[in-house]
């Protein structure tokens, strides 16, 4: 039986098409539809219920040392209020999850996990932790709302009782929005400027309704999981279970800049070092024929299978079908033409640099 987020009733009122996802009932889209919701985020603003995400607090005098060991990124030199993205590897170098680390204090970090991996992650982290620490899962009591798009800052700033974070990947605690105390970070999963608001469950419905009403004139739409996926795909952001999994290393997934081999040690480092140059790599594809490549479709070069599609969609802003694929290293370069076996139909595809879409700098 799927759980409901604190915003379930708000989704029904907005005629959200509810689907089970990662153990929750969430809207795949609302009345406007995926394409219109996607365009709202690219041109104005969109509002997302991402309460299914997991949040855990890691505290204690050994919290930092444990993060350095558990995660591939480097957390030294981080100030309070900063956020870093990191893969978390298993001992083979495969990926347990990819997550965000918020530094609240030198001995207190909030870690935001993928919903579908929450229990697995917590069990894994618990097993690895050493020394003085406490790990607290606050997922069940925490709601998360994302407001994304070029107009999100003006909409949110007008409602907030104190200034919002200016820099990408920073956060401010205790910002009042619609009477709720929120942690507000300048982060997101759409390739646009935007914010993620964390709050107690009971505050979420009023925050949601207030943002929806305040943003209406600016063109804000509530957005479902469908647009969340097409937006992150245009921005070439990895999705766990597609571009990353227990058998895909972050180096293969093209996340090398978040894997700090210069750190003394971290789980997976030895396996990644001994594997040497990754045997596979993530590429972008633009589909040239009429069709949409989907996850699992085979990538073919000169009659030989060289990899598979990890995600694919019709990209509403770009107006063309795009896909990401994991292929043999050196198998193809930007501009090369490949084939994708799409349910028995061979589609022509061109290798394209990632990301497919990048927001204009302001």
């Amino acid at each position: 039986m799927e759980k409901k987020t604190a915003l379930y009733d708000a989704h029904l009122r907005a005629k959200g098409k509810m689907v089970p996802f990662a153990g929750y009932l969430l809207p795949v889209s609302y009345e406007a539809g995926i394409a219109a919701e996607h365009m709202a985020v690219r041109t104005a603003a969109g509002l997302f219920d991402v309460s299914h995400m997991g949040e855990v607090l890691l505290s204690g005098s050994d919290a930092f040392a444990n993060l350095q060991n558990l995660l591939t990124n480097n957390f030294s030199g981080m100030a309070d209020g900063q956020i870093r993205y990191s893969p978390m590897c298993n001992t083979e170098g495969g990926t347990v999850d990819d997550l965000l680390v918020y530094r609240k204090d030198k001995n207190l970090y909030e870690i935001v996990l993928n919903a579908a991996n929450r229990e697995k992650d917590i069990a894994w982290i618990q097993k690895q932790l050493k020394g003085h620490f406490a790990l607290t899962d606050i997922s069940e009591s925490t709601s998360q709302i994302a407001i994304q798009g070029p107009r999100s800052a003006e909409i949110l700033a007008a409602l907030a009782d104190s200034p919002l974070s200016v820099k990408h990947y920073t956060f401010t605690e205790n910002i009042g929005v619609a009477g709720a105390r929120c942690l507000v970070s300048r982060t997101g999963y759409t390739g646009e400027d935007g914010f993620e608001l964390y709050m107690e469950n009971q505050s979420a419905p009023l925050v949601w309704d207030t943002l929806t009403a305040a943003g209406r004139n600016a063109g804000l739409l509530p957005c479902g999981l469908g647009a969340r996926d097409t937006l992150r795909l245009e921005a070439a952001m990895p999705l766990y279970g597609h571009e990353l999994d227990e058998d895909i290393t972050p180096l293969e997934a093209g996340l090398g800049r978040f894997v700090r081999m210069d750190k003394d040690a971290f789980i997976g480092k030895e396996a990644l070092l001994s594997a040497g140059i990754p045997r596979r790599g993530r590429i972008g594809l633009e589909i040239l024929d009429r069709g949409i490549a989907r996850a699992g479709d085979k990538v073919i070069l000169d009659g030989r299978e060289i990899g598979y599609v990890t995600s694919g969609t019709m990209a509403p802003y770009l107006g063309k079908a795009i896909a990401m694929a994991l292929i043999e290293s050196g198998g193809a370069a930007d501009g090369d033409e490949l084939g994708v076996d799409c349910r028995g139909r061979m589609l022509r595809a061109r290798v394209t640099a990632l990301p497919f879409y990048k927001a204009a700098k302001k």
């Binding site: 795949v28 889209s29 539809g33 995926i34 394409a35 469908g226 097409t230 009429r290 069709g291 949409i292 989907r294 969609t313 019709m314 509403p316 079908a321 349910r343 139909r345």
Partner: protein, 126 residues
């Protein structure tokens, strides 16, 4: 959900209109377009002169969310394909019962077709 009373339906969400001059026009129902969402591509595997068989695929429809077969509602000979709809599948989202896809004729009667009431009952159960 719009289910016009003068049309017939398949359990796989195609509609068919029998015209006075002996043809069967086929398209995708309002329920189909609503479920699929924004349509991206129509790929028909049949052209004028080809034979199609009731309840067998005569093409595919792709939306952002999913891909699904388009089945022939009756057996017969393809008289025409509506290139307008094929080139602009979003017309099915806007006007599912106007944007026909395939014109079939001569055709054979298909006893498995549903009338509007039966089709409404079917989609109510989904």
């Amino acid at each position: 959900m719009n289910v016009p009373g003068d049309l017939f339906y398949t359990a796989t969400h195609e509609w068919v209109r029998f015209t006075d001059d002996g043809f069967a026009l086929a398209g995708l129902t309002d329920h189909a377009q609503e479920t699929l969402g924004d349509l991206a591509y129509i790929n028909l595997s049949c052209a004028a002169g080809d034979t199609v068989t009731a309840a067998q695929a005569m093409g595919e429809v792709e939306s952002i969310k999913a891909v699904t077969d388009i089945n022939a509602p009756v057996s017969g000979t393809v008289a025409a394909v509506n290139e307008q709809t094929v080139e602009h599948p979003e017309q099915i989202n806007a006007d599912p019962y106007g944007a026909w896809l395939v014109k079939i004729g001569p055709y054979e009667p298909n006893p498995d077709l549903l009338d509007a009431l039966a089709y409404e009952l079917l989609i109510a159960q989904e």
